[in-house]
Every structure is written in structure tokens, then in C-alpha cells.
Amino acid sequence: MQLIECPWCGRREETEFHYGGQAHVAYPADPAALTDEEWAHYLFFRDNPKGLFAERWSHSAGCRRWFNAVRDTATYRFHAVYRPDEPRPVSS
């Protein structure tokens, strides 16, 4: 079972966590100005890379807080975890 590092609690088992999909998807600054197509992209379209992916996780069976991670979707290895108010770390 994979261990995932919560920024607040440290390394815990994967089963304590809930996946939240792509990170850094900003709510539209001016929602009323969006076209249907722009709304569709905000609601339904996400990146789906084979490789490094910045995504959200929640430590749902622990501190219950959300955090971000950079994970490789081909190897499943976590390269970084960071708090929601922190920028995505530069990783290679």
C-alpha cells in the first residue's frame, strides 16, 4: 500500500486519503461573462497527462484538510506535496 505524505500529519496509508483531481483550477473571475463553451471547459475539461500532474488530495481519515501534490501518473510516485496556498513546486 502506498504511503502518502500529508503536509500536516506526515506519511500515512493511501486508504486515509481521498482524491480530488486536478489542482489549481481557478473559479472564473467573472462567471457571468463566460460563454457556454468556457463554462463547459471550467466544469468538465481537465488535464490528463501521462507524467507529472498537479492534483488535489484530502486527508479525509486524518486531519481532513486538502493539499496539493505533484505525482507521476505513469509511475504513481509522489514528487512533492504542498499546501493549497503554496505555488506548484518546480519539478523535473
Partner: protein, 404 residues
């Protein structure tokens, strides 16, 4: 049980890619091969290459649990899956090749009052669409599948089930090989070990594909790459509402025939059938995170096994033989995307999530029509990319008799 068939020495040629084709299909899995077959059979289009980065039918086609059914809730889904099921019923004759299609029925168990209501609703919806469906009480479930634990004392008791008698399983490899053989006989080139690494475009048209075996010019391109469709589309700058996830399956050692049908349970999420050879074949839901690694998390297997043993106490001493993962591309409404794209001659077939195998002949038929006529077949017309903008979703989440 049917005896296993004898194989001819060579099922298909292994040609060098030509420098141009009328149609290039990317992905030699079940959907790509079925598309090739129906292009030749229904439309007389045979100057076609099917490109495969690995080996023929070695991706999800080799990694699924082979269940075939058409008991979907919404009219659009019932239509395309029922079209597929009717083709399955004649497929051995069409392909001239055994596929061990066994219409042993599928039970979808209900474990809560809400499950019961949803299931009965789906039975009625199926009947209105000409899909065979029945609601069974726990005692009737026991008659169809005596090894199901119908005790009301377990954590998630069986309160009944929907039953589709025409549903069943087929031998997935033989299905692929049958389509491949027929497509090859028609003159279509099946090219393995040929990865598409990019596209050549001219305005709103794709004029060729770049591959690890050189550039290939083409009049039309069909993407049939399942979980890796996003990776391909990214090379065109085409963003799709897809998320790729690992979906795991497993088999037991070979056992005597004990399981006469297919049993699925959405609430506790396991589905089980017994292969012709004797393995218990089991699947569950997708792993939650995005992934392309063709493997998944152990706790998913653990939960699935716990569910299986509670439902089938007789399995408690069966040994797990092996597990594996496929990569499935899921959409926000749990329905596929099949049809046209912003590129005039690029056709898309993706987003089948956990349910692509059962659709194989049906989607091949529809894709071939879409490619040949530059417009969708009525059965795939609802499954547009535009539906995510227009809002005309085909929302099968929780309705399709299994979670995606």
C-alpha cells in the same frame, strides 16, 4: 462448455506500413479492429491501416472482464449497447471464428431500498427499449445462481436483482483475433509496434500521422486508443473531457464449474463470472486517482475480495492467481464520446470508461459508418463531444447498473 478451438498457423499478415492510406485507425484493440472489419464489410473501404504501439489487442482488450450486456438506463445507451448485443449474437458466423459467446445472463444485485427502486426502474426502461430484463426476488436470484448468499443477515443483504438473460461473456482474445483475421483477409494492414508520436495537419484537416515507423499520409484518422486517447489528442492541441484511471481485475485458479451466470453488485462493487476454462474472473471499480501504469492499489483488490467472499461464501478458499490493470478513460457523464471532432477528418472513439468491451461490435459498426459518411450513425449521434457544451449529457453515473 465448448472445447477450445484449433488455431490456424497465421491469423494475419505482419506488413510493413505503406506511405499512405485512405483511413488510419490508431489503436488495434477491439474497437479499432472492429472498426476496420466493418469499414471493409459494410462500406467496402479496405485501404486502411490499423496502427498499434504495442501488440495487437494487448491493452484493455486483454485486460477486461469480458462481460456483455445492454441493460443501460438511458435510451441512447440502451440503443448502442443493444445494437452491439445483437451483433454479438451473430458474430461467430460473421467472423467465421469461434468467440465462445455464452449468453448465460447477468444479475445486477440490489442491496438497499434505493437500489431496488433504481433497479426496477431500469428493468422497465429496458423493456420499453426492447431489452430483455426481469426483476428477481432473492429466492429467484438463488435459483439462477445457487452460490449467491441470499441470507438477510449479512451487512449488505441481497434484496433482489435485475436479470438480463441474453447477457453473457465471450472470449476476449478470440474476439480480437476474429476481427483481426477478417480485416486482414479484406486487405487491411494491421501494423504492430508502430506508435503514433504526432500528427501532420493542414488547417482543419489531419493529413498524416508521425509514427515510430515513419510518417504515414492519410485521408481520415480515427482515434481508438481507449485510456491513452488524451495523450494522442494532446499532440493535436485537442483538449478532451477525459480522465484516465487504472481499473483492476483478477482471476482465481481454475475451478470446477460453480458459477452459472454473471453477477454484478454496484453497492459493494464486485462483479464475477467464471471463464470457460474455469477461472473466476472478478472486477470492481476504478482506482480513484488518474493513472497510466496498468496497475492499481492493493486496497481496491482487498475490498473487492471481501465483497466477493461475503456474496459467495464458497469462494473463501479459492486462490487468487493473478491481478492486472487496464487504463480506462472516463468522462463526466460516464458515457463515451464517439463521433466528429473540430478536425474535419478526425474521428474520435473514447471515454468508454469501464464498459468498452461489451460495445466492441456495436461501436465498430458505428465508427465505420461515421468514417465512411463523415457523419455519425444514429446510434452514436448522441455521444458527441459537443454535449459537454450543450448540456445534452447521457448521464449514466449510477444508472448504468455499475459505477464508472
Amino acid at each position: 462448455m465448448n472445447p477450445l478451438p484449433e488455431h490456424p498457423d497465421v491469423l494475419w499478415r505482419n506488413p510493413e506500413p505503406k506511405r499512405s492510406y485512405d483511413v488510419v485507425i490508431v489503436g488495434a484493440g477491439g474497437h479499432g479492429l472492429a472498426t476496420a472489419h466493418y469499414l471493409a464489410k459494410n462500406h467496402g473501404i479496405t485501404n486502411v491501416a490499423v496502427l498499434e504501439r504495442g501488440w495487437l489487442a494487448g491493452g484493455n482488450m486483454a485486460r477486461n472482464t469480458t462481460i456483455i450486456r445492454s441493460n443501460y438506463l438511458w435510451d441512447e445507451s440502451a440503443a448502442i449497447y443493444e445494437h452491439a448485443l445483437r451483433l454479438w449474437e451473430g458474430l461467430e458466423d460473421d467472423l467465421g471464428y469461434p468467440i465462445l459467446f455464452s449468453q448465460r445472463g447477468v444479475l445486477n444485485l440490489a442491496h438497499s431500498l434505493q437500489d431496488v427502486r433504481d433497479s426496477v426502474r431500469r428493468v422497465e426502461a429496458n423493456r420499453l427499449n426492447g431489452v430483455d430484463a426481469e426483476w428477481l426476488t432473492p429466492d429467484e436470484v438463488k435459483k439462477v445462481c445457487p452460490i449467491v448468499n441470499t441470507s438477510q443477515e449479512i451487512r449488505y443483504p441481497v434484496l433482489g436483482a435485475t436479470y438480463q438473460p441474453r447477457a453473457g461473456i465471450a472470449k476476449h482474445d478470440y474476439v480480437a483475433w476474429g476481427f483481426a483475421r477478417r480485416a486482414d483477409e479484406a486487405g487491411i494492414d494491421l501494423i504492430q509496434d508502430c506508435e503514433v508520436t504526432g500528427f501532420i495537419t493542414d488547417g482543419d484537416r489531419v493529413t498524416g500521422v508521425r509514427t515510430t515507423r515513419g510518417d504515414i499520409a492519410t485521408g481520415k484518422v480515427a482515434l481508438c486508443a481507449a485510456g491513452h486517447t488524451s495523450v494522442l489528442a494532446d499532440q493535436l492541441g485537442l483538449r478532451l473531457p477525459l480522465q484516465s484511471h487504472p481499473l483492476q481485475a483478477l482471476v482465481s485458479e481454475l475451478l470446477e464449474p460453480v458459477h452459472p451466470t454473471v453477477v454484478m453488485s454496484n453497492a459493494i462493487h464486485v462483479y464475477v463470472s467464471q471463464a470457460h476454462k474455469g477461472e473466476l474472473v472478478m472486477g470492481a471499480g476504478i482506482d480513484s486517482y488518474n493513472g497510466y501504469g496498468q496497475r492499481g492499489a492493493f486496497h481496491i483488490i482487498e475490498r473487492q475480495m471481501a465483497a466477493a467472499v461475503e456474496l459467495f461464501p464458497v469462494f473463501a478458499r479459492a486462490h487468487l492467481l493473478r491481478t492486472w490493470g487496464g487504463i480506462v478513460d472516463t468522462t463526466p457523464d460516464a458515457s463515451p464520446i464517439v463521433g466528429l471532432t473540430p478536425y474535419a477528418n478526425l474521428y474520435l472513439n473514447c471515454g468508454w470508461g469501464t464498459g468498452g468491451f461489451k460495445a466492441t461490435p456495436g461501436v465498430g459498426w458505428c465508427m465505420a459508418h461515421t468514417i465512411a459518411h463523415d457523419e455519425p450513425h444514429p446510434y452514436n449521434a448522441p455521444f458527441t463531444l459537443e454535449r459537454f457544451v450543450t448540456g445534452a449529457l447521457v448521464d449514466e453515473h449510477g444508472a448504468a447498473a455499475v459505477a464508472h
